[in-house]
């Protein structure tokens, strides 16, 4: 009940940007796919099918969904850190390929050689999947540099965390991006924690939208739990970057429900805090409530979608469980290209 109240209250705010019913449905599907996929990945990790580090995106679904909906899918480049499964799903990469990479199988997006933190797709213009905190910011700047160099009208979307926002190379990148008017949108996914460190404990100032101020980069703080807000702000930022004005910063206020990675007991925050987000701010529940309330969908029609998505995830999991490991000869491939 509490969820519904919040959602309908939001609707009465006239200045909240609205999505069309089609867009709402698209957002719902995408976010639900991420949620169910990540839940499955968590289970498979528990079963020992996935190894190493596995960082789930549960709770943050609205960010990548809203931004990608506002971008030119397949043309604009995207890059992020290791919390990357959701980005790939929304960008249209095959869930089977993503899941099989998590299990380290030959049908995985990197042929099993990359793992959870390292997946890429030239075709979809997704550049990873990066394990070193902050590295993707400079790399994203480079994607924007290439876009400007070629004059191809594309924009680079570089996602990074509140923790990453304190790395030095972020500010080197901000300076160059503004200096050279690079078409890049810096998306800070502020989920309040970097592993066990809250933003208050790591950052002299915690309003990350202002981090570009000394470079004169415009920034906005966005409710990253509300896909409408994300979509609206992303449209503005992407349009700004595409029109040649240079970089733009979006700070997405979001929340991860799970631990930092599968091995994090998450003792640094209260259960209440997590529960509050889940019950009152959940990005998927918000859309669902609006879809139902507007009459665009019914409980029954949403159940059909839910079962379609479950089927996709189940198939992905089955594929990833049964697919073969890479051929041993693959150990020696892809190190350098022999010209």
């Amino acid at each position: 009940m509490a969820r519904k109240a919040v959602a309908s209250k939001a609707k009465t705010q006239t200045n909240v940007p609205q999505l069309t019913p089609e867009q709402e449905l698209e957002a719902y599907r995408e976010m639900l796919l991420i949620r169910r996929f990540e839940e499955k990945a968590g289970q498979m990790y528990g079963m020992g099918l996935i190894g190493g580090f596995c960082h789930l995106y549960i709770g943050q679904e609205a960010v990548v969904t809203g931004v990608t909906m506002a971008s030119e899918k397949g043309k604009d480049a995207q890059i992020t850190g290791y919390r990357d499964h959701g980005h790939m799903l929304v960008m249209g990469l095959d869930p089977k390929g993503v899941m099989a990479e998590l299990t380290g199988r030959q049908g995985g997006l990197s042929g099993g050689k990359g793992g959870s933190m390292h997946m890429f797709s030239n075709e979809h213009r997704f550049y990873g999947g990066n394990g070193i905190v902050g590295a993707q910011v400079s790399l994203g700047n480079g994607l924007a540099f290439a876009a400007k160099y070629r004059g191809d009208g594309t924009v680079a979307l570089a996602y990074f965390g509140d923790g990453a926002a304190n790395q030095g190379q972020v500010y080197e990148s901000f300076n160059m991006a503004k200096l050279w008017k690079l078409p890049v949108v810096f998306i800070i996914e502020n989920n309040k924690y970097a592993m066990g460190t809250s933003t208050e404990r790591s950052s002299a100032t915690t309003d990350f939208s202002k981090r570009g101020a000394s470079f004169d980069i415009p920034g906005e703080q966005v409710d990253g739990m509300d896909v409408r807000m994300v979509y609206d702000a992303a449209q503005r930022a992407i349009e700004y970057a595409r029109s040649g004005k240079g970089p733009y910063i979006l700070e997405m206020l979001t929340y991860r429900y799970r631990g930092h990675s599968m091995s994090d007991p998450a003792k640094y925050r209260s259960k209440d805090e997590v529960t509050k987000y889940r019950q009152e701010r959940d990005p998927i529940e918000q859309v669902k409530a609006r879809l139902l309330e507007s009459g665009a969908e019914t409980e029954e029609s949403l159940k059909v979608i839910e079962s379609e998505i479950r089927a996709i995830v189940t198939q992905a999991a089955e594929f990833a469980t049964n697919d073969a490991e890479p051929d041993p000869a693959e150990l020696w491939t892809d190190i350098t290209i022999s010209a």
Partner: protein, 463 residues
């Protein structure tokens, strides 16, 4: 200043074109007056007068190319000066960086020999101290041993502090700093933002100012963000300052191959840091070595790279219960005495080497097993003595083969014990590939006990 010499306008200039004279014979010049213009392939520069005087002679014609540096180009006589009286001086030129060096080089007699460096002084390691009779041996994990070492040194010396990501409130990403915050407080156990380059540099600066930082890198993979401060600032400081400024500090954290974390989170930096003069590099295997060497590292006046291993954190060993258990830096440990073949390893490599040794001994091969413990300074003596006895060596490490610790050891053995070798040295290493994620490929990328056995069989010519 009778003779004006052709100046060098850059450290590398050997000759140039005298493109233009701006004075003629009979002119009176004062300091700073431009005498001539000189051109090199890189720039045009002006030659200025240093003293006042009268131009007596222009010895090189305008437009002459290929005028060698230090050739006399003009004669300018000061009041009461006569030609040939004073020593020639090089004209001061408008804008060159190191004329002094160039001049000095030019005055070295032509027949001077290339300078001969003195031999590098030989490092002589101390032996492990004898343990007090009847000392109690306590079983503990490597994790506990490291934790105790830090706690003891923090208690002993107020200048010691710990800094890094998640070291305090979270109690360490791998729980090596557990309870240190509780005992020593947030001034001495310092959580940082994710800013490796920044906090490593900060710690080096604090060490310059006399503190003794222990910098924890969550893993050594992330220290690559900070490697400039480690090498360019910490390692070289003592030398660059002529012995004045030191960086007494420890950089520590898990190194090497972890489990299923892929290429960016799984690699061995042993050889990387062992390459650098000015650093001390330690990579212990046992719990006792972890404790005794970390305590020694914290007390060392030098910057120490302390390479731990995530997979070994939970392994246990016996550690002497003493108020102050210290081990000598730079001393290898002979883990097993033997006569047939020398196996040399360190850190996680010791696990493969020990298991292989067990099997080999059971099969009748009398293995001598050496745990290097310290990688710089490297205890060549212990290794070479052993090889002189056994005539055969196999090295074991997780890192890449090219330029690895095994490569260094085999070079040293070849230089010092070539005539004693009965077989080529063989290296067992990680495969020459980035670490793959897939379980089967990861296994293939790692060194194995069987690889060590095969190498020993090869050097002992057993089948």
């Amino acid at each position: 200043m009778p003779q004006i010499l052709m100046p060098a306008l850059s450290p590398t200039m050997e000759e140039g074109t005298l493109s233009k004279w701006l004075v003629k014979v009979g002119d009176t010049v004062s300091p700073g007056d431009v005498l001539a213009e000189i051109e090199t392939d890189k720039a045009t520069m002006e030659v200025e007068a240093v003293d006042s005087g009268v131009v007596k002679e222009l010895m090189i014609e305008e437009g002459t190319e290929g005028v060698k540096v230090n050739t006399p180009i003009a004669l300018v006589l000061g009041e009461g000066e006569q030609a040939g009286e004073a020593a020639p001086k090089v004209a001061e030129q408008a804008a060159t960086s190191e004329p002094a060096a160039e001049t000095a080089a030019a005055t070295v007699p032509a027949e001077a020999k290339a300078p001969q460096a003195a031999d590098a002084p030989k490092f002589v390691a101390q032996d492990d101290p004898d343990l007090p009779e009847g000392v109690e041996m306590v079983e503990m994990t490597v994790r506990q041993a490291l934790n105790e070492a830090m706690a003891e040194e923090l208690r002993r010396d107020k200048d010691v502090f710990v800094i890094g990501e998640e070291v305090a409130e979270y109690q360490g990403a791998y729980k090596i700093t557990q309870n240190l915050l509780q005992e020593f407080g947030p001034e001495r156990i310092v959580d940082t933002p994710i800013t490796e380059h920044g906090f490593a540099g900060l710690a080096v600066g604090a060490a310059f100012a006399g503190l003794k930082p222990i910098v924890e890198f969550m893993t050594w993979n992330f220290a690559m963000q900070a490697i400039d401060q480690i090498i360019n600032s910490a390692a070289k400081q003592l030398y660059m300052s002529g012995g004045q400024v030191t960086a007494p500090m420890v950089f520590r954290g898990p190194n090497g191959v972890a489990s299923r974390v892929g290429a960016q989170h799984s690699q061995d930096y042993s050889a990387w840091y062992s390459h650098v003069p000015g650093l001390t590099v330690i990579a212990p295997y046992s719990a006792a070595d972890a404790k005794g060497l970390l305590k020694a590292a914290i007390r060392s006046p030098n910057p120490v790279i302390f390479l731990e291993n995530e997979i070994l954190y939970g392994s246990t060993g016996l550690v002497p219960k003493m108020d102050d258990f210290l081990l000598p830096i730079g001393k290898a440990r002979i883990a097993r005495k033997g006569a047939d073949v020398t196996i040399v390893s360190f850190s996680m490599g010791m696990r493969y080497a020990s298991q292989a040794t067990e099997k080999l001994v059971a099969a009748g091969v009398d293995v001598e097993l050496i745990d290097l413990r310290t990688l710089r300074p490297l205890d060549s003596d212990t290794v070479i003595e052993s090889v002189k006895k056994t005539g055969r060596m196999v090295t074991v490490e997780e890192g890449w083969p090219q330029g690895g610790i095994g490569a260094e050891l085999s070079a040293r053995v070849m230089e010092a014990a070539f005539d004693y070798l009965d077989a080529p040295v063989m290296r067992v290493t990680g495969k020459d590939v980035p670490m793959p994620y897939a379980a089967n490929l990861e296994k293939l990328a790692l060194p194995h006990v069987d690889d060590v056995i095969a190498a020993v069989n090869a050097v002992t010519y057993r089948s």
